[in-house]
């Protein structure tokens, strides 16, 4: 049992991160952004509708606003900051993953608020399904709302990653 202000530890992006002196009911999104200096996950709706706060929790893509942080002890959490494993592009000071690079080159980013959640959702999709159909891509990102792009360039970015990964094998 954990009580208010009692420290608990979360495993985030491979590191043990202590959470100190917090209200114990805080969402994982709040703890990531406000207590652990991981502002990549964005907070927009705080009710699971927009997907901007998507993280991987024990391998599942979930909305971090709907996870009570203190219940995520003994779980593995990966945020957008931790998604560099597949293909690292760029120098070490500013590394981005192949999915992030494709979003940049295909112009899939406009205001950028939905982008981190989409990046996590796309990584999760391609990890489990390396050659998804168009409808599978649409379904996989149906929980990530983008108000700017109309999604066309997002689909182009996903397809670019699929093609690049196929060629590199």
């Amino acid at each position: 049992m954990t009580t208010d202000h009692q420290m608990y530890t979360l495993n985030i992006n491979g590191a043990e991160r202590p959470v100190k002196d917090s209200w114990i009911g805080e969402s994982l999104l709040y703890v990531l952004r406000e207590r652990l200096d991981l502002p990549g996950s964005k907070g927009a709706c705080e009710q699971g509708e927009c997907g901007s706060c998507t993280v991987l929790l024990d391998g599942d893509a979930v909305c971090s606003c709907l996870v009570m942080a203190a219940t995520a002890v003994d779980s593995t959490i990966t945020t957008v900051e931790g998604l560099l494993a597949d293909t690292v592009i760029g120098d070490t000071a500013r590394v981005i993953s192949d999915v992030q690079a494709a979003f940049v080159t295909e112009g899939a980013v406009q205001c950028g608020f939905c982008t981190p959640g989409l990046i996590v959702a796309v990584h999760h999709l391609l990890e489990h399904n390396p050659s998804p159909s168009d409808i599978e891509v649409k379904e996989a990102i149906s929980g990530n709302i983008c108000r700017c792009t109309g999604y066309g360039r997002i689909f182009a970015a996903v397809n670019a990653v699929i093609e690049t990964r196929k060629k590199s094998k």
Binding site: G48, D60, A61, M68
Partner: protein, 281 residues
Amino acid sequence: MTVTVATNLADALAALRATPDARLLQGGTDTMVEINFNHFKPEHIVALRKVQELRNFSIQEEKGLIFIGSGVPYQTLENDPFLTLLPALAQASRTVGSPQIRAAGSLGGNLGTCSPAGDGLPVLSALDATVHLQSVDASRDVLIHDFMVGVKKNARKPDEIITGVTVPILRGFQGYSKVGVRNAMVISVASACLAVDTSRSQIRLALGAVGPTIIRCRESEQWLATQVDIANSNFSNEIAKEFGRRAALEARPIDDHRSTAEYRKHAISVLAERLLLKANS
């Protein structure tokens, strides 16, 4: 405030006995919204996501039953073996929220919250599911119709955990349809589950989001049984239309922020009619 992360059912039950006013947290998709918007400030939380016993399911083929643990996420329920054995449940599961919500949400959460718009609930009603409840020293089974008692009210006692449901495997068509404002990420404005049970010559219809809790359309079901031979299910357009009209009469919707009572009644008449015609093929 305290948070207990239970890793097995015995620990979860003991924690709940110690703090019977605790909120049980499964996927968090309902409770965390309440907390984020300051509508609810919990004193005690017993988190169930790590309780493996609640995430199991088992097929009892000789009895024609499936046990589904209360924590099995919708992303499991939308695929096989559920897609084949309980197609209406798989269809309903697939309409829940988004992939992110379906990775977290479960039937246990649907039953615990007991919102009339819960997508799993019309299916459990149409299939005559049994809900299993357990406390530290007792367990009991409650028929789904007795479990759901009102708007966000159920028959669970404060020291009980919903461990799962047992759902009969039926022979015959079954389907789930819902109306919402768009295709993805939508809470039902009106929903309906139709299940044909050829071995008992029954057709069952349950409605969601059009009453204080899920509504079984017993009168429409009985009327239909007097009109046609259900075992040979061949329903004319006229029969289907009348079935829809009667189902809408059994709905008891209200006007709220999602829709109007009038539209919901119309939606039910269309959903019930279409589901019955689908049963022909």
